[in-house]
Symmetry: C2
Subunit: 402 residues, 2 copies
Amino acid sequence: MKVVGLVTEYNPFHNGHRYHIQQAKAVTGADVVVAVMSGNFVQRGEPALFDKWTRTQAALANGVDLVIELPTFYAVQPSHIFAEGAVRLLAAMGIKDMVFGSEHAEVDFLKLAEQAPSVASGHAFQEKNQTFAQAYATQLAEETGFVLEDPNDILAFGYAKAVLKLGVEMTLHPIQRVAAGYHDQGFADDQTIASASSIRLALHKGKFEKVQSVVPAATLAALTTAPNTIAFETPFWQLLKYRLTTDTIGQLGQVYQMAEGLEHRLAAVTLGEPGPKNYQNFIKTVKSKRYTFARIQRTLLYTLLNVKVDQMQAAMQDPYLRILGFTDAGQTFLSQIKKTVTLPLISKVDQNLAKANLRLDYKAGKLWQMLASDGGQQQDVTRQPIHFVHSTKADGGSTNEI
Amino acid sequence: MKVVGLVTEYNPFHNGHRYHIQQAKAVTGADVVVAVMSGNFVQRGEPALFDKWTRTQAALANGVDLVIELPTFYAVQPSHIFAEGAVRLLAAMGIKDMVFGSEHAEVDFLKLAEQAPSVASGHAFQEKNQTFAQAYATQLAEETGFVLEDPNDILAFGYAKAVLKLGVEMTLHPIQRVAAGYHDQGFADDQTIASASSIRLALHKGKFEKVQSVVPAATLAALTTAPNTIAFETPFWQLLKYRLTTDTIGQLGQVYQMAEGLEHRLAAVTLGEPGPKNYQNFIKTVKSKRYTFARIQRTLLYTLLNVKVDQMQAAMQDPYLRILGFTDAGQTFLSQIKKTVTLPLISKVDQNLAKANLRLDYKAGKLWQMLASDGGQQQDVTRQPIHFVHSTKADGGSTNEI
């Protein structure tokens, strides 16, 4: 059994993801595909359009054999922590090959990572109107000649750094991705592959019919039946405004990633008169050149989740492998690794786990429900992994909760 | 200038309140009426139907000359703290006569208060399935023969205890009120006076036309034009559920009046599966014989306002006289007491006050806005007291913000 690992958000699952899965198998000769997938919130600090179960279902229907949840404390993070968390989970399952997209697939990212400056020295060079990532990229370019600026390259570099840091045996297989694909804002009617961000944009604009040609049947079905957070900004702002109004500055200052007095700015903007009209208005007002939009939004999400620095640091020390779903092949792989896996395998979350290790994912699931169009379904306690059974029918299979 | 003090909620202002004002003047011979009025939240822990400005306007149009806000830390409290706070404010203005309704106006409440057991000894007798008030009333009845059970009597007794405790010079004038009036749930179409609770009930049921005969023009105008919280339960539960889901048990345990592990019960009920459908459902599940509905609801409001024990205790040490509105006569009275008043007179709230003494009222105002049907108006910063000018016209006068 040859296994390949992917790191995904599937927000939402689209035809490009299916193509990526096929390529991953072709490049590595793998017969089992394991995807580590962000749960109910993605790296940019936003709720995923569909909950983790809906996206797991789509992934299993389209070539993934096992979906493991990337815990919130890894998933909603800057790329280097996100990447390190994902590599840690894949390595814990004994997976030795990773495939990922990159704008510069010809680059040996492990070698680049070996030559790269340490994070600490990069930080010293950060200028006032620069984000940390910009400062680091400037220094990396000076030392190696490589300009690290495309989103998939940045993640690829993160995987390589993580492999070195964790000392794990992992072969990295970058596959070529068209540069700037992530920021691509539109797609033509005859396209069958479009970026997730352009699909989200179309959905935000209510153009449901436009995405039909670029997503598979499972995603299309979700678009018409599943609860979603396409219009998350109104409830997100309502709850955030409430918390920023009622918590003290001292409480806000303890939130994870709340740095350099940002809590004062958040509270002052919220309580100003007449105050922000909506979330977009709020976030534009608090944004500065010092922080990326994603960084601000992640901090706001941690504010909303009321996650303090100490809780986050403790949680990150204690990762686990939460099984969201599998095919028959995925199930076979799971039974093979049962005795060698180096992190706890979790298939069911009870109230005890919800209060301990999985507290943050549990809270994130509850928050996702509050932001979803029709309340959504319970995300953790009472839920079981999806067992997806492929059939020979055109519809791609059937599903059982085990 | 002879002045009489009233303690009010005006939720909403109705014909019975106008009659009460006329009686107060008749009984005391006063020519100026000062009302201490709960702000945006009332004693039962609920948002007032209309904001404090709308209710001030109605009060000034119907015989009150000066409206002083009873701060949230006094207003949303059990009757003995509510009463003591109100007496403290009236006494600070040098007012020596209070008129209030009572189901037993023939009782000398000061004398009853002198004979009453201390609170501490009352507490020792509380049985498991008794509220504190029930335990205290049992003991009072044993020692004095008086059965303290009607809501206005309980407040009257509170005023008397406060007068004794604070050592202020205050003559109490109870006026007869029909027993059980507060709990009266209906009224006939030809009535011109109905209880506030029966009016609220009619409004909750959407029977706006039914209340026309029992409220004056100012309240009627508010019913059709002002933001209100008649349907507060849905947004209240939404925000409360959010806080009970995201705060830790440790944080919830620090909330004012959170006693005997109630925080565990609140969190467990909120996070249960499938969980409460709505606020009514939630509060019925958490209610026990040990606590009154009002006590639970006040604790939930303090949870929502994120008010901790230490903040509350500090706030209660630092009361003030917040002026919401006045007539010409009220203005004259204010200038007379300027040099003798024993608490700070506040007519305008800036950001500094909103962060210090008035923080709780300010937060309460912001929360009221979040619960109101159309967002409501800003409640503190930028607002000025209402100067109500009576005219000879039938409509009762005009209004200026000074």
